[in-house]
């Protein structure tokens, strides 16, 4: 389940939505990305973003045995300490949950059409993110 939104998210609520009433999930991994030090404005390519998130989630499901995946990405203006992104993976086993969460973040960082701006300056993409995504090829 994927969403792009301006509002904040609550991790416990999102986990509960995935796990409630189930007894087949043994491992839940969450990654949340937070704004550090500066105020950021996030824009995205509406339409393409949702397609990319769906594709990234589908790709994770072909590679790992997952019971559920959530991706939430915020847009708009965010302040230091604010949440930017949330990925949740639920699986029977922890290895699948961990690897899939790392994969989702690496792919998000290099394929989902979001851009960060700090004041008038666009944040530069990092080579380390490309390297991180490369290892899943």
């Amino acid at each position: 389940m994927n969403r792009v939104q301006t509002e904040d998210f609550d991790i416990s609520t999102e986990i509960a939505a995935l796990t409630k009433g189930r007894s087949d999930i043994g491992a839940v991994v969450t990654f949340s990305g937070l704004v550090r030090d500066v105020t950021l404005t996030l824009e995205h390519y509406a339409g393409m973003t949702e397609r990319e998130l769906t594709k990234i989630e589908a790709e994770a499901n072909t590679r790992w045995k997952l019971q559920a995946v959530t991706i939430i990405h915020r847009i708009g203006t965010l302040n230091p300490g604010d949440n930017i992104v949330l990925v949740i993976t639920a699986s029977t086993h922890r290895k699948d949950a961990f690897e899939a969460a790392e994969f989702l973040m690496d792919y998000l960082k290099t394929r989902a059409p979001f851009w960060k701006r700090e004041g008038d300056t666009w944040v530069e993409a990092k080579a380390s993110d490309d390297d991180a995504a490369e290892r899943w090829k």
């Binding site: 824009e43 390519y45 393409m48 930017i84 960082k109 059409p113 979001f114 851009w115 666009w122 530069e124």
Partner: protein
């Protein structure tokens, strides 16, 4: 076809989107960029460093040598920085 520009490209070109009719000689993404660069100094500046430009045809990532076909929309943007 509809063109969309995001982030620093939108800023340099000064438009979020526009409709264009490129000549028949424009067959792939690289051709389209070359043609756009002839349209004015703001385009030339935006697409100057072609290797760093990312494109999407109908909302799917496309490489520079991807054939255009007859798309509804083509988007240009810098490397993504979400997450």
């Amino acid at each position: 076809m509809k063109l969309l520009y995001f982030a620093s490209l939108r800023q340099k070109i000064g438009l979020p989107e526009e409709d264009v009719t490129p000549p028949d000689s424009v067959r792939d993404v690289a051709d389209l960029i070359d043609w756009l660069m002839t349209r004015g100094p703001e385009y030339a500046a935006a697409f100057e460093n072609k290797i760093t430009i990312r494109a999407a045809i109908d909302q799917e990532h496309a490489k520079l040598d991807a054939p255009l076909g007859h798309p509804r929309e083509v988007a240009f943007f810098p490397p993504v920085t979400g997450g």
